[in-house]
């Protein structure tokens, strides 16, 4: 059976038995992760389509309902996520250089940004709940609070808002768990991540995807232009 060792004195090799060389292994992991991200694109994509359809049909009501969203908080969240993407890719960079402390620093800042995002999200959600904007039996009956929007269509808007941002938040939480596990492994010096930068790169790819979703969510939901002819 063929296995490759770079250094005969090195006991540990990150090369798995089914691969011929590390280059093949790296490319397989990268393509594999991208294939998974393709499934995530299709996953979120259907939601984006639903949103497109309803917004196209109920433009006025969606605009009036969206005015309740806080653009400032949304912009802060976007900045936080973009910055976390940067720190994540720096983490991958340091992993390539095998600089454990800097990797841990980058991953910790990334996680911190993710937490900050969730905290801001919590405040946004709390405001919505307080104003009875969660769809269902408790949805507000006061059209004036939504600037005169049709309340049924406003419920659709908020249904999509909570559904899409909620699903995104779940992916952020999964990301925090993954990055946390990765950081834990780096801290313990686990050879699986210290000798091979691919696991860090793959978690990085996932995290960038989460950022990508938000890049599209933010303008679609928060930055609606006023409908006028």
């Amino acid at each position: 059976m063929a296995t490759a060792h770079a250094d005969p004195h090195d006991e540990y090799s990150p090369l798995k038995h089914q691969y011929e060389d590390i280059e093949q292994q790296n490319e397989c992991y990268t393509v594999g992760m991208w294939t998974f991200l393709v499934t995530e694109i299709m996953f979120f994509g259907a939601l984006f389509f639903t949103y497109t359809l309803y917004r196209w049909n109920y433009q006025e009501d969606f605009y009036l309902a969206h005015e309740h969203l806080n653009v400032t908080l949304g912009a802060i969240n976007t900045t936080i996520l973009l910055f976390s993407s940067f720190t994540m890719v720096m983490g991958v960079h340091y992993a390539q250089l095998k600089d454990k402390l800097k990797v841990l620093g980058s991953l910790t800042v990334t996680m911190g940004c993710a937490f900050a995002f969730l905290v801001i999200k919590y405040f946004e959600y709390a405001e919505k709940f307080r104003d009875h904007l969660y769809p269902g039996a408790n949805f507000t009956t006061d059209a004036a609070s939504l600037h005169g929007a049709n309340l049924n269509h406003a419920q659709l808007f908020f249904g999509l808002y909570f559904g899409m941002t909620g699903l995104h938040a779940i992916h952020i939480i999964i990301g925090i768990l993954c990055i946390g596990t990765l950081a834990g492994m780096w801290a313990k010096g686990n050879k699986l991540v210290t000798e091979d930068y691919l696991p860090t790169e793959m978690i990085g790819l996932y995290w960038h995807f989460v950022d990508l979703v938000w890049i599209f969510l933010f303008p679609l939901m928060y930055l609606m232009p006023q409908p006028y002819k």
């Binding site: 499934t39 694109i41 299709m42 996953f43 259907a46 969660y134 269902g136 049924n152 249904g159």
Partner: protein, 579 residues
């Protein structure tokens, strides 16, 4: 290709009577439940999928018994809804979607491309565990009242009105979907990056092409149904209105999103069957597949075109007439690649040396049954006839012809063909041949009357048809056929299991077939090959006029007890010549 002698590089402790292979290298439960070996995972899938096939068949039997009388025999309406939903959900998501890819694909793809394992063995195992968890959930659904929405989960009934176990069954389907996604990821990466030296794309067996196309469809389609079903759960559990018509939502949007996956899903179920069919036809006519490139490209064409025809499930669901015309046109187009394959397989048979052993009987059955199923699909693609035939038993007969007559027949053929490779044992081909004929007879008796019943007006998913009592004759014929079909699926279990216990041992290549999987011992060692094979020959490299080929092909499977018939390097042939 160099013939590698069987080499025991992995020696078990103690006296060894048989060579070490992936089955006997470790007998502990832990080694099976924590395995990374794609072959063991394939066996795990084999038992789990067959268990669900059995459950789905029980549901089918209940349906068929119920339908023998126009006013129902054994089931209340509520229960009947739950039974046909259970039949659909279990058969589609828990048997047909995983069966050929996860059983035969998992086992054969690395062997056929000359790799040691799939790209991601642990992901493969996770895939199986997700399937098991999903299976446990669906069993819980069955035990706690079932779900009555139909396997299509149409809104607003499923999202707003149904009082059955919709949420749990959707989560089960969701997990089963992710199980298939992980298998798909594995296949795509493996086939792209881990082919043996010399194994170019056009030297790949057509089964690998089919596995690849199937995986692409799985990757691109399954997430859409995952999120769609999840939205139904959100609507039920979190009251998020998406398909609620009272608030301005559109229930038909669910249908668009659902069928965006579920139509490609039927190609997920048939493309691997096409792959098996190519292998069977080639190896049992001792001839390379006619028009190999056409078959390979038509496989990819089906997987691509299959994504833009979903609207043909919605012709009567208030879909815009103009959109329907487009979908109808493309649905006619998507029949062309399938027809190309049928023509190529027929041309392969022409002037081939046909061996009518059990797998070939299944393959020939596939040709006829799939053609009928495919052609009846064209009636449904045409807008005018579809209005009359949709939601009747014509549709039920159509999809059972392609799925059972196509997919399951190919699965049976493949299972028999690769059984010696997977288990190292040879089954009784005589009984298998008779059983194949029994399957064919039983199947046609079950489903052909359904075409006629549907045409004269029998609706699907109804168990009361007292307003059209004349269709009862067709239902009774159908139920009689179902009984025969049921028996013909039990018999293989008996003789295949019996072969495990007391069948003759198989050599590396009992069929005299061509393919990398036949170059290694039966059953293979854990890492498949003792040395990485170097591929220099073209695929299906048969020499049709060689008498030696005929001798080798005929000898072992029809005369399994005769050790002299089994050829090894340098040994004598029964006819007295030497290799």
């Amino acid at each position: 290709m160099s013939a590698t002698p069987i080499d025991n590089t992995l020696l078990a402790t103690g006296p060894v009577e048989e060579p070490v292979n992936y089955l006997n290298v470790d007998h502990s439960i832990k080694s099976w439940l924590l395995t990374g070996d794609h072959k063991r995972i394939a066996i795990l899938y084999l038992f789990s999928t067959l268990f669900f096939f059995f459950l789905g068949s029980v549901a089918a039997s209940m349906i068929r018994l119920e339908l023998t009388s126009p006013v129902g025999m054994i089931l209340e309406s509520e229960t009947y809804n739950k039974v046909f939903t259970a039949h659909g959900v279990i058969m589609i998501f828990f048997f047909l979607v995983p069966a050929i890819p996860a059983v035969l694909g998992n086992f054969l793809v690395p062997l056929m491309i000359g790799a040691r394992d799939l790209a991601f063995p642990r992901l493969n195992l996770l895939s199986w565990y997700l399937y098991i968890i999903a299976g446990a959930l669906i069993l819980t659904v069955l035990a706690t009242g079932g779900v009555d929405t139909g396997w299509t989960f149409y809104t607003p009934y499923s999202s707003m009105y149904s009082n059955s176990q919709v949420t749990m069954s959707i989560i089960a389907v969701f997990l089963a979907g992710f199980s298939s996604i992980f298998t798909g990821i594995n296949f795509i990466v493996t086939i792209h990056k881990m082919r043996a030296p010399g194994m170019t794309w056009f030297r790949l067996p057509l089964f690998v092409w089919a596995a690849y196309a199937t995986s692409v469809v799985v990757i691109l389609g399954t997430p859409v149904v995952a999120i769609t079903l999840l939205l139904v759960v959100f609507e039920r559990v979190f009251h998020l209105p998406i398909f609620n018509p009272e608030l301005g939502g559109d229930p038909v949007l669910f249908q668009h999103l659902f069928w965006f996956y579920s139509h490609p899903a039927v190609y997920i179920m048939i493309l691997p069957a096409f792959g098996v069919q190519s292998e069977l036809i080639a190896n049992f006519s001792r001839k390379r597949v006619f028009g190999y490139h056409f078959v390979a490209f038509s496989t990819l064409a089906i997987s691509a075109l299959g994504f833009v025809v979903w609207g043909h499930h919605m012709f009567i669901s208030s879909e815009s007439m103009y959109q329907s015309v487009v979908f109808s046109l493309i649905s006619f187009l998507v029949a062309v690649p399938s027809a190309i394959k049928i023509f190529n397989w027929t041309a392969t048979l022409y002037k081939g040396t046909i061996r009518l052993q059990a797998p070939m009987l299944y393959a020939l059955g596939f040709m006829g049954l799939f053609t009928v199923g495919g052609l009846t699909g064209l009636f449904l693609a045409s807008l005018g006839t579809d209005v009359h035939l949709t939601n009747t038993y014509f549709i039920v007969a159509h999809f059972h012809y392609v799925m059972v007559g196509g997919s399951i027949t190919a699965f049976m053929g493949g299972l028999h063909y690769w059984w010696p490779k997977m288990t190292g044992k040879i089954y009784n081909d005589g009984i298998a041949k008779v059983n194949a004929l029994l399957v064919f007879v039983g199947f046609n008796l079950t489903f052909f009357p359904q075409f006629i019943a549907g045409f004269v007006g029998m609706p699907r998913r109804y168990h009361y048809y007292y307003l059209i009592p004349e269709v009862q004759a067709y239902h009774i014929l159908s139920t009689a056929g179902a009984s025969v079909l049921a028996i013909s699926f039990v018999i293989p279990a008996v003789y295949l299991l019996q072969s495990l216990k007391s069948g003759p041992k198989a050599s590396a290549n009992p069929w005299g077939a061509h393919g990398l999987e036949w170059e290694t011992q039966s059953p293979p060692i854990t890492f498949n090959f003792t040395e990485t094979p170097i591929v220099t020959d073209e695929v299906y490299d048969f020499d049709p006029v060689s008498e030696f080929e005929q001798e080798r092909a005929n000898a072992e499977m029809t005369d399994p007890g005769n050790d002299a018939a089994v050829t090894h390097t340098g040994e004598e042939l029964p006819s007295g010549g030497t290799e």
